[in-house]
């Protein structure tokens, strides 16, 4: 198995700033917008963006929720390994809000489909957008596309994108691993 670096920490830093600016362009002061990080891996990106928007771009009272989609997945009982649930922490209503769903890698689109179903249990959003760090564009199973993306990757199916964060792996880096 070989792996190469797709994004180093400097590039990730630049991308995070760009994504934050793109969000500000569309959502101004975020008064009617909430960020929702998808458990388990989308929460690191969501937390980073929230910190950036709050500290560097001075957005006040930015709301961030964490959403677990385990009970909404379409592969329950179709996998060999059982699914482990994570916690959902959304202490606000989503009714009439603009929602930005945040995940690290967009692959088949099935997690996002589950996320869209899960979001509806917290109210009817006015608008839902999708932000991802890595968009693997040729591997979609569903008609789902991101509104904001860090980097587009034309990886083949045997290749795996691995996102590491300072919080979990001591450094920010994205690898592309070859499983052949």
């Amino acid at each position: 198995m070989s792996s190469k670096v797709l994004l180093n920490s400097k590039e990730i830093e630049i991308i995070l700033h760009r994504l934050a600016c793109q969000l500000i362009e569309n959502h101004n002061d975020f008064s009617n917008t909430v960020l929702i990080g998808l458990q388990p891996r989308g929460i690191y990106l969501a937390n980073r963006l929230k910190d950036l928007l709050t500290n560097e771009y001075h957005i006040k009272d930015l709301k961030l929720g964490l959403l677990d989609i385990t009970f909404y997945r379409d592969d329950f009982r179709r996998r060999d390994a059982p699914l482990d649930a994570n916690s959902t922490e959304i202490d606000f209503l989503i009714e009439d809000k603009n929602v930005v769903l945040i995940d690290d890698v967009l692959f088949s689109g099935r997690s996002i489909r589950a996320g869209l179903s899960a979001i509806n249990d917290f109210g009817r959003p006015n608008l839902v957008e999708l932000l991802v760090l890595i968009d693997r564009r040729f591997s979609r199973h569903l008609p789902i596309q991101p509104n904001y993306k860090g980097r587009q990757v034309d990886a083949i199916n045997q290749e795996k994108v691995k996102v590491c964060w300072k919080e979990t792996h001591n450094k920010d880096v994205v690898y592309i691993e070859d499983n052949i």
């Binding site: 009970f71 909404y72 329950f76 009982r77 059982p82 699914l83 482990d84 649930a85 179903s117 249990d121």
Partner: protein
């Protein structure tokens, strides 16, 4: 990735500590779900569950049905009083007829001990025991421990006394197994006629003085006197039972500490427990009912996870 070590939930005695931890962790997630604006998840939408109640039930039946519906399963209900059991049909025939309608999970309450184990050997479905005679009532014991864990932080090292009709109680036996598995100390308290003779072989202490029992414990789980299972007189009168083993505010006030009061229901107010105690802040009786739905969702979800299409 964790899963249960058992294929059915027939009794607490078949579970290990990891199973109980897994059920409680999963129940935590479902407790969050049932407190949302929309209290439902689509996980089990292709699963069909039959609730077979060969004995009366209000709380357990409603709780199971609600848990199943909150997981989006299809539910069919059956009660023996309105069925062909009265016409002489055997248990296996009844259940096989229901299973040929493609049922994945059977939740069963039955007056005979071991009915769940018997069924699990003869039919091809996941079996959840919702009470078999005077034997076990595993989901009740799980929700009792879950409620203690919620109120006191953990079950380990706590002292729990089970008060009342232990002889006829499936709740008592399942609770003893569950509490000991989690490292709690258990005593029983009641008239000697209602304490089973083998109880000491389970490592359970016996106390016949209610005040002493309450002074010893952190939690008192109060049981109902099951008149319907008594073929002979086990104590002279209900009034005498209440005087010796009924929990009232007076006896609780005479202790120099607070004791958590639990009751699996239905309550005979004024017999084993007075109204002021049942409705006091020390009572977690209604928390038990709420937690019952979350714990049953967890059990059903974890068993359903094992069903492969």
């Amino acid at each position: 990735m964790k899963q249960l070590s058992v294929d059915h939930l027939l009794g607490i005695k078949y579970l290990n500590k990891n199973d109980i931890d897994l059920i409680f962790e999963t129940a935590d997630h479902f407790k969050e779900v049932i407190n949302r604006p929309i209290k439902k998840v689509p996980s089990l939408r292709d699963i069909t569950i039959a609730n077979l109640f060969f004995e009366n039930s209000t709380r357990t039946k409603l709780s199971f049905e609600l848990a199943e519906k909150r997981l989006s399963a299809d539910v069919i209900n059956f009660s023996a009083s309105q069925s062909s059991v009265k016409k002489g049909e055997t248990l296996i025939d009844t259940v096989n007829n229901i299973l040929s309608m493609k049922v994945d999970i059977v939740v069963m309450r039955h007056p005979n001990v071991g009915a769940g184990v018997f069924l699990s050997k003869h039919v091809d479905a996941k079996i959840i025991n919702a009470g078999d005679g005077t034997h076990e009532h595993p989901t009740q014991a799980l929700l009792d421990s879950y409620s203690i864990r919620e109120r006191l932080g953990s079950v380990k090292g706590k002292k729990i006394v089970i008060v009342g009709d232990v002889l006829h109680s499936r709740v008592a036996l399942s609770n003893i197994f569950a509490l000991q598995l989690q490292g709690a100390e258990v005593k029983v308290c009641g008239p000697t006629t209602l304490i089973p003779k083998y109880i000491s072989s389970l490592g359970v202490g016996v106390e016949t003085n209610l005040k002493k029992a309450l002074e010893w414990c952190d939690v008192a789980n109060v049981l109902r006197v099951q008149h319907e299972r008594m073929d002979v007189k086990y104590f002279p009168s209900t009034r005498e039972y209440t005087q010796l083993f009924g929990i009232n505010q007076q006896i609780l006030d005479s202790l120099d500490k607070k004791v958590i009061i639990m009751h699996p229901g239905p309550i005979n107010r004024g017999v084993e427990i007075t109204s002021d105690v049942a409705d006091s802040s020390n009572s977690i009786i209604l928390n038990q009912v709420e937690n019952g739905v979350a714990v049953r969702m967890a059990v059903i979800y974890l068993l359903a996870q094992q069903i492969k299409r």
